[in-house]
Amino acid sequence: MSSTIHLEVRIKPRPGLLNPEGKAIHQALRSLGWEEVADVRVGKAIYMELEAADANEAVEAAEAMCRKMLANPVTEDFEVAVVEATEGATP
C-alpha cells in the first residue's frame, strides 16, 4: 500500500558563499530600521507530493532528486522534511 506523502525540500545556500540576494535584503531590512539583523541568506523551498510506501522512502527519493538535480552541490545544501498536506500546497 502506498500513500501520498507531502514534502518540503529546503535548498540552502552554502555558508561562506556570497549570497547577493540575501545581502540586498539585509541592507533593505536595516534601512527599514531592523538594525539588529546580522545576516540574511536566501535559499528556496520546493513543495512536492509523491506516492511512496512510507515517509522514509519518500524522503530518500527526494534526497536522490536533490543530488541529481534540485540542488547544486557546489553552492547549496539541502534538507528534506515531511510536512502536512496543506503546507505550501497550491490552493
Binding site: L17, L18, P20, E21, K23, A24, K68, M69, L70, N72, V74, T75
Partner: protein, 232 residues
C-alpha cells in the same frame, strides 16, 4: 570544421554561434537537445540563452537533456567543446567544468561590452591571441558570478586554467572592472585537459565591425585552423 551547435528550448544565441562558425569557413549544424549522436563533428558548441527559462538554476535542467550525455562523452574523449554564457552554466552543471555561476553581486542583468585579458594562448581556442591581449567583448547575463570552493579556486589559479579575466582599460583585474562579482575576475576557464572552454562573455557577438567589435573572431578562426582538414 564541422560544428554541432546544440540548441535547447530557450537558447537564443544559437544563430549567432552558427553565423560565427560560418564566418570562419566552418560548417555548422543545429543539433536539437533531444537528438542523439555527435560523432562526425569536429567541435561542439553550447549557446547562450535561457534554457528552460533558467528555472531552478541556469543550466540545471538543460544539462539533463538527452544530448548532454553525448556532450559529456564527447568532451571526456578530449574533443573540443565551447560553452558561452548559458552554455558555460550548462557545462558547470554537467560537471565538465568545476564551480558554479551564481547571481551577479549587483543583482542586475548586466549587458554591455567588457574588457577581457587573455591569460592563456596555448589552448585550441585562444592561440590566435597574444598573451595579455585585451579584448572588447559583450556580456549579457544575470548569473555570471563564478563561485567554487577554496580548493577548486586555488587549483584553477595554480594550474593556469583561467583563460579570460575581466580587466580595466590598463589591463588590471580590478573590482570596478568586474561586472558580476566573479572570484578573481574570472570570465572563462578550461577543464584540466584544455579541451572544454566555458566563458560568460559572447565572442560570437563580436565578429563584425557592425556589431562594435571583431575581437571574438580570432577564437573561431583559431578553432577553424586547428580543426579543418589540411588543404592538399
Amino acid at each position: 570544421m564541422k560544428v554541432a551547435v546544440v540548441t535547447f528550448p530557450g537558447s537564443n544565441c544559437d544563430y549567432d554561434l552558427y553565423k560565427a562558425v560560418q564566418q570562419v569557413g566552418g560548417d555548422p549544424t543545429f543539433v536539437w537537445h533531444r537528438e542523439r549522436g555527435l560523432e562526425g563533428y569536429d567541435a561542439v558548441m553550447l549557446p547562450g540563452g535561457f534554457s528552460y527559462g533558467d528555472y531552478l538554476r541556469g543550466g540545471a535542467i538543460a544539462r539533463l537533456s538527452p544530448v548532454m550525455e553525448d556532450v559529456v562523452a564527447y568532451a571526456r574523449s578530449g574533443r573540443p567543446v565551447l560553452g558561452v554564457c548559458n552554455g558555460f552554466q550548462i557545462l558547470c552543471e554537467a560537471g565538465l567544468l568545476p564551480g558554479a555561476l551564481v547571481r551577479n553581486d549587483s543583482l542586475k542583468f548586466r549587458s554591455f561590452p567588457v574588457r577581457l585579458r587573455v591569460e592563456r594562448t596555448d589552448t585550441l581556442f585562444t592561440e590566435g591571441y597574444e598573451e595579455g591581449q585585451i579584448l572588447r567583448i559583450p556580456i549579457a547575463h544575470g548569473e555570471g558570478n563564478y563561485e567554487a570552493d577554496e580548493a577548486t579556486l586555488r587549483r584553477l589559479e595554480d594550474e593556469g586554467r583561467i583563460v579570460f579575466r575581466y580587466v580595466d582599460a590598463s589591463g588590471e583585474a580590478t573590482d570596478e572592472a568586474n561586472p558580476n562579482g566573479s572570484w578573481h575576475n574570472i570570465a572563462g576557464i578550461v577543464n584540466e585537459d584544455g579541451n572544454v572552454l566555458g566563458m560568460m562573455p559572447h565572442p560570437e557577438r563580436a565578429v563584425e565591425e557592425l556589431l562594435g567589435s571583431t575581437d571574438g573572431l580570432a577564437l573561431f578562426q583559431a578553432m577553424a585552423r586547428a580543426l579543418s582538414p589540411a588543404t592538399p
